[in-house]
């Protein structure tokens, strides 16, 4: 068994060139997008603030062997610069929606991207470091989730969106 060519190698690619770089890697045989996620470096005062991470794997499907992995980091801002890679790895569809939902990092060619996990009326992006930790946006129930003091209480208020 030969040693994997690249095992967990890390590469930085500027966000504008990410699509070309990822296409080249796909052509090279990285056929699985293991993960697509994002990190918010607000506290570190990085500019651009976000780091979008693509983790790729070469999978030999016939033998079920992992032939090497690579991690692509693209510094990005909330302004969409990255292009979608849905057509290269279909799984990227949901992962891009998750990155949008949780971090608010968009993709140029997906202007009407939908949230994946939170409901449509949710305001903001909860995994951003500046999302207030105590902010609550319940769909039903009392505003800000305060407790009803009696266990048999029963009130319903109209849909509350965050402010």
């Amino acid at each position: 068994m030969s040693a994997p060519a690249t095992q967990g190698e890390r590469r930085e690619i500027p966000a504008a060139d990410a699509r070309a770089g990822l296409e080249a890697l796909k052509a090279e045989g990285f056929n699985v997008l293991v993960d697509l996620t994002c990190v918010d470096y607000l506290a570190q005062k990085r500019a651009p603030r976000f780091d979008v991470v693509y983790r790729l794997m070469k999978l030999d499907a016939a033998e079920g062997r992992d032939l090497g992995r690579v991690e692509i980091h693209c510094a990005a801002d909330a302004q969409p610069v990255l292009r979608s890679v849905r057509d290269l790895w279909p799984v990227a569809d949901w992962l891009e929606r998750e990155v949008w939902d949780m971090f608010g990092v968009g993709f140029i060619d997906r202007p009407d991207i939908k949230r994946l996990l939170m409901y449509e009326t949710f305001v903001g992006h909860p995994l951003r470091k500046d999302y207030p930790i105590a902010k609550r946006q319940p769909l039903i129930g009392p505003k800000s989730g305060e407790k009803a003091d009696s266990p048999s209480f029963n009130i319903l208020k109209p849909t509350v969106v965050g402010e």
Binding site: K135, I140, S152
Partner: protein
Amino acid sequence: MPLEETIAPAGTMTTQIDAALGWARKYSIFQYPFVTACCGMEFMSTAASHYDLDRFGAGFPRFSPRQADCLMVVGTISHKIAPVLRRIYDQMAEPKWVIAFGVCTCTGGFYNNYSTVQGIDTIVPVDLYIPGCPPRPETVIQGLVMLQEKIQKTGGRPRRVVEAAP
């Protein structure tokens, strides 16, 4: 109209009927398990033969809220699913009871965050809280026995005036 008012004319003392109905109802709890998370595993082990909820007359899960008496909310409730839980509760016929199973449903547990309902008592009225993460089957059985006492005492009369959802 509650059964006890249909079979006894208005003004009649109905304590004996209440007691009889309470006794009957407490041993025929048809539960609706609203299972969303890890507590479900503990619910299954409680309901299965080793701990055997059927000994207490509560071994018969109904998967339609319209046939159920007892809504068991088992597992973390997120804000996204909260309206669904409320609708299920509204679809159940009186008399009905709600059990908050596990600390997630009681208070939100350690999920003090943007996505989790901080206690289902902010959405539906709760009759019984079973703490624990997850509660041991013994705790669940103790809770069930306490609910049975409550049913016996109240006779299962509809006690709540439900405000209409806006």
